[in-house]
């Protein structure tokens, strides 16, 4: 595969292999083993192997998959199934603990897709559970969780940083099961330039059957949150997977004409027009998401940056969103990711807060970390990593 233009973006064919097959899964019926070899590697690195299985199953292509490839898809499916069972178990636990809050708990991101049984949950694997409670109930929620062995291991500086400026507590972890939990009170840092209202998110959140206190964001907010998370974030390690989430959400919710009518106005209302513009643009360009032309135009009018910036951001995002695999990188990929990293911090905090923070992270945290490391000699070994795969 050589250079070719895909939807107007001049990119290397190899780099777009995974995306073009996600967009047109039927083409998986005629891949040779060489192409499967690359596809499996890209998909595994992007945490999208489970998604490939689901598409193969949905389009009844399993018989077209060559024999040596099948075990990889089966394995990914088994792992993802198990993952969603475990997430369901943890969610049941957490919602039970937080029932005493007597206040709604909004389940976010991957866990929400599982709870709401959305197609975006199929084959998806993620590392933490995200919940959101009202800011004035945060302390109480933390206390309830702590009693049930959900604790944070953040050091003094990090702890303070999270509590003072961020939209969530420092990550909590269950002491025995090691599951990670992010407890939010908002979807962006308190210092961020964009100011989506948490009150509005709660007001429109939808109850989930079977769980008295559980809610998920309404479809528009779910898309807006996913877009915000992807296009404001500092690392694009899961960029490809997050874009696929957006694509899957848009395809699913988009079956309802009303959804499209509400989407852009809601973006404006929530101060999230810019990330929404990027989300729709890159979903269409990279995954051929069927977004109505009128909605694209509406989103561009509301959230498109000035043309020079728009051109630059196209160049950056197109490199950051492809799977994190050598076959998808070009000579500007590293630069693009560094620039996006700087941008995300700039968007997250005003400079007078950001500079001292970066100084601490660059010079003080490593010293502290080394001290702690030396004190405990707790370098994770291969044994420990292998043991992590075992049941406890």
């Amino acid at each position: 595969m050589g250079k070719q233009a895909i939807n107007g973006l001049a990119v290397d064919g190899q780099a777009m292999l995974l995306f073009s097959l996600l967009a047109k899964p039927q083409q998986m019926a005629n891949l040779d083993l060489n192409t499967w070899d690359l596809l499996i590697r890209q998909a595994r690195n992007a945490d999208l192997l489970g998604r490939i299985y689901e598409l193969v199953a949905e389009h009844k292509l399993f018989d077209d998959v060559p024999l040596p490839v099948r075990p990889h898809l089966l394995s990914a499916r088994r792992f993802a199934r198990r993952h969603s069972v475990m997430v369901g178990f943890e969610l049941g636990n957490l919602l039970g603990i937080l029932a005493k809050l007597d206040s709604p708990v909004v389940v976010l991101k991957g866990a929400a897709y599982v709870l709401a049984e959305l197609p975006a949950a199929a084959g998806r694997v993620f590392s933490d559970i995200d919940l959101m409670v009202a800011k004035d109930r945060l302390a109480e929620a933390e206390k309830l969780l702590k009693v049930q062995a959900w604790v944070s291991s953040a050091d003094g500086y990090d702890d303070k940083y999270y509590r003072q400026w961020m939209h969530e507590l420092p990550p909590l972890q269950h002491m025995k099961r090691h599951t990670l939990l992010d407890l939010h009170h908002a979807i962006l840092p308190q210092t961020a330039r964009l100011k989506p209202s948490s009150k509005r998110l709660f007001a429109s959140a939808l109850p989930v059957e079977g769980y008295p206190n559980a809610h998920v964001l309404c479809p528009e907010d779910m898309v807006l949150h996913s877009a915000t998370h992807l296009f404001q974030d500092d690392e694009f390690k899961h960029g490809a997977r997050d874009l696929v989430d957006l694509d899957t959400l848009l395809r699913h919710f988009g079956e309802d004409e009303q959804f499209w009518q509400r989407l852009v106005p809601r973006g404006i209302e929530m101060d999230l027009s810019r990330p929404l513009y990027y989300a729709l643009r890159f979903c269409c360009r990279m995954l051929e998401t069927p977004v109505p032309e009128a909605i694209l135009a509406q989103a561009a009018q509301a959230g498109r940056p000035p043309w020079l910036l728009a051109g630059l951001m196209d160049q950056l995002f197109q490199r950051a969103l492809v799977p994190d695999h050598p076959s998808c990188l070009d000579s500007f990929s590293a630069v693009a990711k560094s620039l996006l990293f700087v941008r995300s911090h700039y968007l997250r905090m005003p400079l007078h807060l950001l500079l001292p923070h970066l100084f601490h992270k660059a010079f003080i945290s490593p010293i502290n970390a080394r001290r702690a490391d030396r004190a405990t000699e707790n370098r994770p070994t291969i044994d420990a990593l292998i043991a992590e795969n075992k049941p406890r």
């Binding site: 040779d32 083993l33 060489n34 499967w36 070899d37 499996i40 590697r41 595994r44 690195n45 060559p66 040596p68 490839v69 075990p71 990889h72 089966l74 394995s75 088994r78 792992f79 199934r81 198990r82 069972v85 994190d324 695999h325 050598p326 370098r379 994770p380 070994t381 291969i382 044994d383 990593l385 292998i386 795969n389 075992k390 049941p391």
Partner: protein, 320 residues
Amino acid sequence: MIVADYSEQTLQGLIAGSGLRFGVGPFTLNLQSSLQQLAGDVRLMYASYPISSQPFADFHVRLDRPFGLRRWFRPQVNFTQDTRTPFKPLPLEQSFAMFEWGLNWCISSQCHQYLIIHAAVVERGGLALIMPAPPGSGKSTLCAGLVARGWRLLTDELALVSLEQPGEVIALPRPVSLKNESIDVIRAFAPEQVIGPIARDTAKGTVAHMAAPVESVERAAEAALSSLLVFPQYTPASATVIAPRQKAASFMELADQSFNFNVLGELGFQALRQVLDSCDCYDLSYSQLDDVIPALERLIDARAESAQLDSLDLRSTGIG
């Protein structure tokens, strides 16, 4: 065509270029590295493994020295599968051991087409002896000893239990990992066996690998039916004691030693049940290889005989 058909120089070129592609049990591996010494180690330890021309490889792995100061100061090595780096780097002398451990990680975390148990498996007369054990029980030493006395090596570390053929274990013959005193024990016990590079000061102490015998590698496509489940415990100066063990407790112990029992759910439970159904279970304590090996041979041969008698009985009564 096998790995040793290539000269070290040719292997070096392949590993430094698009990769050396070879078969290891049911898997195809593509190995790349910028390290000089790895080609020699691989040629020694994987000599009789088949070169693969398959365009699809199950695992693409690399071993490289990290960038930065550590290139010169106490040099290190990194294991990567594609770009993913599951482990912290290790000292450069431990490159081959890291390759082995990295491959263990790839298989145990990504191959849920099998139930994977942390156990050694060896075969004699078509019957498999499974030895699950925590580190320090002398499992690998005993496995190396049995293999040196003609048992076929199915695996030293990762038992791949079939989810399709009840009770069958798939062969994954790879170098047997020996630790500390075991290295000298096996050198004295079986001087003809090939022992690879020595890695000192690893998380497990001093580690070296014994190459899998040629015959085991050539018969890698043959699965074996699990027949004996033995929990070994090396006990200094003890006589060989083999005592029957309860199946239920053995089941729980095997589940606990499994990497993906929890991932497989009911499939894993059924596969493990089938293993237990086809196995006699024993506890074993031993100290002398010369003593324990004949004892295990008698045990498995008796088992083979009784299986034959059973089938004769069935035939004579017209049931079979």
